[in-house]
């Protein structure tokens, strides 16, 4: 039995899954929240002028691309990691607690292949969610605010020290790149959730465990006191995804960040596979 069959069955399971629906709905709701925030922030900056409806005129700094960038950036702070951790953390423990794991493994299935196919599907799911999210934001931003070059200032995004800009065409390519770097970054968290999913039998434990680890380190990483050790946090490594929006793409830094995340991903997957191969399925 091929790996592709396993992938296909994992996708079949996600069909109409409540976790997926809740994830998508909360992401859409989040976009509306960002839109509201973006609108009022811009209004305050522009002295009460609404940014909506400028698509006919010439879009300025507060354009649809900037909106999409803000939206993506804020989503990656919290909601996107949660959406991915929920799916990744339930992969094994969720099936263990539902009893479907024993039903699957009673079939002539190779355990490591099953584990890897689940991780691959989680990655594809993450990529599709991020890509869908980016496209939705771009379309919404274009429709409501209009497009122009992506102007970057030192500020909440922390991308540049001095003002810079990315031309429109180039910026769209950056968003495409961000779907990939973002997926890879999130897979670090997914791998942690996955590992917890193999060692516990409760999806609540594996999902909240991964989310807590992420939240604690993210919050703590922003506190002055931890500046020295911050570089050892996996959340710091995960942050590499957004440097694709620097005016000049820092390929070396991207490669470095991606490989640090890769070390986490492969190590956790390897340990998970070894444990899963020898695990007694008693649920």
């Amino acid at each position: 039995m091929g790996f592709s069959v396993l992938i296909r069955t994992e996708f079949l399971k996600l069909r109409r899954s409540r976790t997926v629906t809740v994830g998508v709905v909360s992401l859409l709701a989040f976009v509306l929240l960002v839109l509201w925030g973006f609108h009022s922030y811009a209004a305050q900056r522009l002295g009460g002028v609404s940014i909506f409806g400028t698509s006919s005129g010439e879009p300025g700094y507060f354009n649809g691309l900037l909106f999409a960038l803000y939206s993506l950036y804020f989503a990656f702070n919290f909601i996107m990691p949660v959406v991915i951790a929920v799916v990744a953390g339930a992969q094994i423990s969720g099936e263990a607690s539902a009893g479907t794991l024993r039903a699957i493994l009673s079939r002539p299935v190779d355990r490591t292949s099953l584990l890897l196919s689940k991780f691959a599907v989680t990655a594809m799911y993450a990529w599709m969610v991020i890509t869908g999210f980016v496209i939705f934001n771009l379309v919404l931003g274009f429709a409501l605010v209009g497009w122009g070059d992506l102007a970057l200032y030192p500020g909440p995004l922390g991308l540049v020290e001095e003002p810079g800009s990315i031309p429109l065409r180039d910026a769209l390519g950056r968003f495409a790149l961000a779907t990939l770097s973002g997926t890879w970054s999130l897979m670090t968290l997914a791998a942690i959730a996955f590992f917890l999913s193999v060692v516990t039998r409760s999806p609540v434990v594996s999902v909240t465990g991964a989310i807590l680890a992420y939240m604690v380190l993210t919050v703590v990483g922003r506190v002055e006191f931890f500046t020295e050790i911050k570089s050892h946090f996996f959340t710091t490594d995960m942050d590499f995804w957004r440097i694709v929006f620097k005016p000049e793409i820092p390929w070396r830094e991207i490669a470095y960040g991606a490989s640090r995340c890769g070390v986490y991903i492969f190590t956790l997957l390897l340990v998970s596979a070894v444990l899963f191969e020898r695990k007694d399925i008693t649920t």
Partner: protein, 308 residues
């Protein structure tokens, strides 16, 4: 052994953190058997089944399915097995059909026709489009059996198939299991804690208690060991003394107006004939079946009697 053995375990043992849950169990299920694996809750039945399916690693001992060692080539062995372990589990938000698709894909796939046939056999045709959420316990059990049937297995493992079913539901499941054996020539290995379920379905049985195998053999053999004869007769004391002289008759106790016997190798009609011959007036002969608990008490606790 003339029959071909399909499932064989040798000295199968499982320890969970030092506690021996299955202890040196050697089973032999022959092709064509409806084999009952009987034992009270916690005896180790599910653990044994899980070891056969490679879900739980045996601490020691071997398992062979159709000659293939499960420890060595789990996938080849499992290709011959269909199973429902400890209550059928499904993706409840998906339909019965979608669930079959998922599980059959994991075993190499099945044609549409085969899936329809399996649904037909278990009597779920027409309900396959409904989400499993809305299935009754009986329907879930039957979908589980359909899933087990799909890859054309040689043997089917069913863990307590009657659990949670109402009397009608368990009657239907028993009829289905019987049909799988007679019409489809399947070998069936089923566990149960209910003596009457096993008695109605199985030709061979193994009894497990606290991880130990207490009995393995025909159901008839078990039932003779598990039943008593209550004889309502005038002057039971004299009748008892008379009968005790015969080989294969053991007088367990007398009450006013009746005697309770255990027979081995002789049948009630024969006892009746001897009594009548001797001039005892026999008013009633009744076979009293021991409860499973009592068989256990006897098998595990020596000869302490506890007749019903």
């Amino acid at each position: 052994m003339s029959a071909e053995s399909l499932l064989v375990t040798e000295s199968l043992t499982k320890r969970f953190g030092g506690r021996c849950v299955v202890d040196g169990v050697s089973l032999e299920v022959n092709r064509g058997d409806v084999f009952g694996f009987l034992g009270p809750n916690g005896a180790g039945k599910s653990t044994t089944m899980r070891m056969i399916l490679g879900l739980v690693r045996a601490s020691s001992g071997t398992i062979r399915v159709a000659g293939i060692d499960v420890g060595r080539d789990r996938r080849a062995a499992l290709a011959k097995v269909g199973a429902v372990v400890e209550g059928p589990a499904f993706y409840d938000h998906l339909s019965g059909w979608e669930n079959l698709e998922i599980f059959t894909a994991l075993g190499g796939g099945a044609t549409r026709a085969r899936m329809e046939e399996a649904l037909e056999i278990v009597g779920l045709r027409g309900r396959e489009g409904d989400p499993v959420d809305v299935y009754s316990t009986g329907m879930r059990q039957r979908l589980g059996i359909a899933q087990a049937l799909l890859p054309h297995p040689e043997i089917i493992l069913l863990d307590e198939p009657g659990n949670g079913l109402d009397p009608r539901g368990s009657l239907e499941i028993r009829a289905l299991i019987r049909q799988l054996s007679t019409d489809h020539g399947l070998t069936i290995f089923l566990s149960s804690h209910l003596l009457h379920e096993v008695e109605q379905l199985c030709d061979r049985v193994a009894i497990l208690d606290r991880g130990h195998l207490l009995y393995q053999g025909s159901v008839a053999g078990l039932l003779t060991r598990a039943s008593y004869l209550r004889v309502v007769v005038e002057s039971p004391a004299a009748a008892g003394r008379f009968l005790e002289g015969f080989e294969g008759v053991q007088v367990l106790y007398e009450e006013t107006g009746s005697l309770t016997l255990r027979l081995s190798g002789v049948d009630p009609a024969w006892v009746n004939a001897r009594l009548v011959e001797k001039g005892f007036r026999v008013q009633e002969l009744r076979q009293v079946r021991e409860s499973l608990e009592n068989i256990f008490l006897r098998l595990t606790g020596g000869e302490r009697e506890a007749a019903a």
